[in-house]
């Protein structure tokens, strides 16, 4: 029970006496509040400073992320402040971690500008993250009401239209990031693009830090890459694409690069997460207007998504990016070299691809999330994966995903085309086996080695990378585990 001293003060004269009140007293802790269907909901993991009780900490988060300041202000009385105040309505201890709580907070829809990630985030992850009474805090998940979602464009293209444009159905798409990331001339870079696409990949990709450097300026790269794309298309009869990174210092530069990519017939352009939410939304609108697939590389995200005690979970970033309107997002591989707990990744993939994501604490999903027919966003699995893992990738990630084998294509002992062939054969043989009803999880290695009998490049890939795994404990794992049921 709250001590009477700390309860919400209902006598208005008392409430608005100049001075400092607890956030609870100001009315930001409302344990009886029933969230409305139209509310934006957020759940934060909070670590209050010693001596700060969790209800007061939750109330402070609600206050600092909505209307409050540190002291009482009489100007509150000029508005319907009760209505605009965010309400902390529930706290729960984090299982197994003393000193941390999940704080649930409801925000009225009128607190946010329609269609603006910048405005949404300025409240939700604004000042509040530096608030002294908390040692640390992390935004774990959000429920965006359908009413608010419908003010966003959503993915420029979406999974279905992307597949229709690429003429590619019934299997994951294949890609590769060009390596080395930096230093190739435009002509040499285009060579790698051509070899990989000709060999059998659907996409190649600029890396996040390839923009317009002294060794290769952007126009040069685009021209050589489009030669490579078109030549590979003519030699395979398939639609091919290369993610031309248009990331630049200003919006004007980015539009100029995107327009040039469009004029050359590219089907896809790429941006980095570090350009910021507003720039991302601008590019998403540009992409919708210009029939362009928009690839997002999540450069920078691990600075705030990886540690569990502080930051923003990646499932929230994925949610914002689907609203902002990108078509591709790097979303983890489970088996590769980068962070990725299987359950967390499952929650992120569902957030990208489903039209309704039910609450599932074991996947890190804290709320039912309707998607109101916003288009689906294609997850991209990239980083330290190879053909020998194909059965695991298909098992964990499903069919609507771009599997990107950069090193696993370009590092192949028989050459880049052979690397692409190995990946494509491994993929097709695994999809075929799955469709035939075979147990690919257990028979996967056998299915691959059967195919390697007639496909030398696959044999060489399996031999080269057979022992490569990245088996480290995940930093970002879920807090809820299934309760074992008695047999």
């Amino acid at each position: 029970m709250n001590k009477p001293l700390d309860a919400k003060i209902v006598d208005m004269k008392e409430r608005y006496k100049s001075g400092v009140l607890k956030y609870r007293q100001m009315g930001y802790w409302e344990p009886d509040y029933e969230p409305k269907d139209t509310d934006v909901l957020a759940v934060f993991r909070i670590s209050p400073q010693d001596g700060v009780d969790p209800e007061e900490a939750a109330a402070a988060v609600a206050g600092e992320s909505s209307t409050a300041t540190w002291t009482v202000v009489w100007t509150d009385r000029l508005t319907d402040s009760e209505y605009y105040r965010a309400k902390a309505y529930k706290i729960e201890p984090v299982p197994g971690i003393p000193g941390q709580w999940f704080a649930y907070i409801a925000y009225d829809l009128d607190l946010f500008e329609e269609g603006s990630i910048a405005n949404l985030t300025a409240s939700i992850i604004g000042n509040v993250f530096g608030f002294k009474p908390l040692k640390a805090m992390r935004l774990e998940d959000m429920r965006i009401p359908a009413h608010y979602l419908k003010t966003f464009q959503g993915p420029a293209t979406g999974i279905v239209a992307e597949r229709e444009r690429m003429n590619c159905f019934g299997r994951p798409l294949l890609g590769a990031t060009m390596k080395p990331k930096l230093g190739l001339s435009g002509r040499n870079y285009g060579r790698v693009v051509y070899e990989a696409l000709k060999g059998g990949l659907d996409f190649t990709k600029d890396d996040e830090n390839i923009n317009s450097q002294p060794f290769m300026h952007w126009r040069d790269r685009y021209l050589y890459c489009m030669e490579a794309v078109n030549k590979a298309m003519a030699e395979t009869g398939e639609i091919k694409g290369t993610y031309l990174n248009v990331t630049a210092a200003t919006m004007e530069d980015m539009y100029e690069r995107a327009e040039f990519a469009r004029s050359l017939g590219s089907v896809i352009v790429m941006i980095d997460l570090v350009i910021g939410y507003t720039a991302i939304q601008s590019m998403a609108k540009w992409a919708r207007r210009n029939d362009m697939i928009l690839h997002l590389h999540r450069a920078g995200h691990s600075t705030y998504t990886r540690q569990k005690n502080h930051g923003v979970s990646f499932r929230v970033i994925a949610k914002w990016m689907r609203m902002a309107g990108v078509d591709h997002i790097h979303a983890g591989t489970v088996v590769g070299k980068l962070e990725g707990d299987p359950n967390v990744i499952r929650g992120v993939y569902d957030t990208c691809r489903e039209n309704h994501v039910p609450k599932n604490l074991q996947h890190g999903i804290f709320f039912d999330q309707p998607w109101a027919s916003l288009k689906k966003m294609m997850p991209v699995a990239s980083g330290g994966i190879h053909a020998g893992q194909m059965h695991q990738l298909l098992h964990y990630l499903g069919e609507d995903v771009v599997l990107q084998f950069g090193g696993g294509t370009i590092g192949h002992p028989m050459g880049i085309q052979a690397g692409a062939i190995a990946n494509r054969v491994a993929l097709e043989v695994m999809v075929k086996a799955r469709n035939e009803g075979r147990d690919i999880w257990n028979e996967g290695p056998q299915i691959l080695s059967e195919a390697a009998r007639w496909c030398q490049p696959l044999r060489a890939a399996l031999d080269t990378w057979k022992d490569v795994t990245f088996d480290y404990a995940s930093t970002d794992s879920v807090d809820f585990v299934p309760t074992p049921t008695p047999a």
Partner: protein, 141 residues
């Protein structure tokens, strides 16, 4: 050249038994199968000729195989693909597409380059097969 459109073009040609298993998978998912053929496999030739409407009510893989065989008989020298349509809300498009017949000789495509200012090149893919009228392509002589 072998064009590599579809789900299984990097594998050895599927046998009829293997095609049948893929059809079964589509039917288990509630998708409708369709057979299409063309003599112009340009990657942006979206609309191949339909060998009848999609078989929305046919639930027997053997029935679909009969249509595949009939189409092969009539259009032995054409590209033939099997397509599975998913009508469920949120997808409402193709779920599977794979080639089940191809001409003995695949002439492929010419890449036509048209040079413009500033080193810009505009590209056109032209099917060699379309240099002859439809119906006379892939004929001996």
């Amino acid at each position: 050249m072998k064009i590599t459109q579809g789900q299984f073009s990097f594998l050895p040609e599927l046998t009829d038994a293997e095609i049948c298993k893929q059809i079964e998978y589509a039917l288990q998912n509630g998708w409708a199968l369709s057979v299409e053929y063309t003599d112009d496999p340009h990657p942006r030739n979206t609309y191949w000729s339909m060998w009848g409407n999609p078989m929305f009510d046919l639930r027997d893989p053997a029935g679909v195989m009969m249509e595949v065989s009939a189409c092969r008989k009539e259009h032995a020298g054409a590209y033939i693909r099997v397509i599975a349509f998913d009508s469920k809300k949120g997808w409402e498009s193709i779920r599977m597409s794979f080639i089940v017949n191809r001409p003995a000789e695949e002439p492929g495509f010419e890449l036509v380059r048209s040079e413009g200012p500033g080193r810009v090149v505009h590209y056109t893919l032209r099917s060699y097969a379309t240099s002859r009228p439809s119906g006379e392509r892939y004929q001996p002589g």
